[in-house]
Amino acid sequence: MILFFLTSGLFLGWSLGANDASHIFGSAVGSKMVSFKKAAIIASVFFILGSVIQGSGTSHTLDKLGSINALGGSFTLALAAAITIYMMTKFALPISTTQAIVGAIIGWNFFTGNHTDSKTLEKIISAWIAGPIIGAAFAVLLYMLVKWFKNSSKIHLIRFESYVKTGLIIVGAFGAYSLGANNIANVMGVFVPAFHLKDLDLWLFSLNSSQQLFLLGGIACAAGIITYSWKVMQTIGSNILELSSEAALVVVLAQALVLFIFSSTTLSNWVVKMGLPAIPMVPVSSSQVIVGCILGIGLYKGARNINFRILGEIGIAWIISPVASGFLTFFLLFFMKNIFGINVGSLINPSAVASEQTSNLATYGQSDVSGIIKYFLLGLLIFGTLGVIFYALLENKKRNEIQRSEEKFWKNLK
């Protein structure tokens, strides 16, 4: 049963991978600087690393908005958010997982009669507005800087492009790592208190219970990136505005900087020391920031090439997604509670429910889930290794064939 509850989290993870993770490499793939295959592999690997190594923390902000106090509620909430993201992805519209989850939490609050913390909500919504604006400002400044460097250094176009390409891979990998670290808690965080898995010893290192969950979530996200992120990458990278290679780098860098600024307490403390107001530690949506960045560059270039129709559709999707997610959650919770008789949470003291829920589920958690994960990982490792070997052999064969055909051509020509 506990594994069944986990499936909605994995589905949400898959949706996150298909939608949010595509923002990292969207501009690089859209500008054809990095192939989709390479982008998907790098994003998947670094997303999983970020999830397992640093995947914690951000669920606290969402906890303030509404603390889900039953596993059935967590399951339904994750399912509603995942369905919303899936539907938006189906129409190739970039939406934010945070938006879908916030909408779902508010839906849960309405259903259970819990109070929605209006201050936290205000903070989150203002961040949704501020994020793209700051992203656009950063993108314009960075774009001007890169252009100035390119013109003043008189660097060869091909060398410059190779730097940009390398930069895109490094910044993209870092972005995927950060996204994994920040967003995995949105996907699996609600399940962490309910699971108490044995530590998984993987010879070189061991994974604790939450890390095992984050690993599973990370793998689900990776599956989303590989199987379904292509369409959103195209929307981000080429449909709003045709991006040049340096613009693609600037977009990814500006996005990473905005996310860093809104999540770095060290920077905020430093700003306070300088006598300036503190930077609010608010989760900023990566999809909104990236669309803001692209729009900023488009406006700087004169707004001639911006596809305002696509932009309008994205804007509508931003409004629709939290609302749709909230309604869907409310609707699903009704079914879960009244038809299936599952406890989806209530107005009772949250700490009491949480402890009850934990004690009820601890017995399930101690089962062989860790063993299943171990065999799953082993299988994944074997298939992964075989896949890499097969891919390397194919690439080598292709290279040899090109070389042979080239040699044959020149031989015949002579």
């Binding site: 600087m33 013109n151 060869h156 176009l157 091909i158 492009e161 190779s162 390398t166 891979i169 290679s245």
Partner: protein, 216 residues
């Protein structure tokens, strides 16, 4: 990662070598025409062989550059334009080779009184193409200077047209001692020489558009 491979460096070297070949080809062509007008056929054949080998090398480089750009996904957004530019430049060296070959086969009888006109025509036509090479190199390093460099190409091309017209006028209106076939043959050779500046202008038009796109 691209920064850590030699592909970029090799490709830059190949593009530079390709431009060098075209540049050298233009120089050798000019010397070849002068040698022919001076009736120095040994030097003319030497120059013809040199242009031939430069053209072969340029063909090889062109193919390698295009292959490398595709296989290593280099300049994905400008690849087709760069390839087209290289094609246009290759057409110039092809034209140099075919012109010298035709002269070698047909051995046109150019009256010595027209030597000066032919030298001026060759110089101006070659100058147009020569001015194209720094502009093409600038596209890769300082694209915002490309258009100002191309002004000279357009200037020399129009000068070539004027020289070509005046030479043809002399041939057809002032040189009654030549028969019509001879005149037509001389006009044909003039067209060959003039064609080089026309090809340079065609490449310049393309380069001008490419430069605007990359600077924007």
């Amino acid at each position: 990662m691209p920064v850590f491979t030699r592909t970029t460096k090799n490709l830059i070297l190949k593009i530079d070598e390709f431009f060098d070949d075209i540049d050298l080809g233009l120089l050798v062509f000019r010397e070849g025409i002068k040698a022919y007008l001076d009736k120095d056929m040994v030097a003319f054949h030497r120059h013809l062989q040199k242009v031939d080998s430069l053209e072969n090398n340029a063909d090889r480089l062109q193919r390698e550059i295009e292959n490398e750009m595709i296989t290593h996904s280099i300049l994905p957004q400008h690849r087709s334009e760069v390839s087209a530019l290289i094609d246009e430049l290759d057409e110039i060296i092809d034209a140099l080779k075919s012109s010298l070959n035709e002269i070698n086969i047909e051995l046109p009888d150019i009256p010595s009184s027209l030597n000066k006109n032919f030298i001026s025509l060759t110089e101006t036509s070659i100058n147009a193409a020569e001015e194209l090479i720094p502009a093409a190199r600038a596209y890769f390093k300082t694209p915002y200077t490309v258009r100002e460099k191309l002004l000279k190409v357009y200037y020399f091309e129009s000068e070539t047209d004027k020289l070509s017209l005046s030479t043809k006028k002399i041939i057809f209106q002032e040189m009654d001692e030549l028969d019509l076939a001879h005149k037509a043959h001389l006009r044909y050779i003039i067209h060959h020489i003039e064609n080089i500046s026309d090809l340079a202008q065609k490449a310049a038009d393309m380069l001008s558009g490419m430069a605007i796109k990359i600077v924007m």
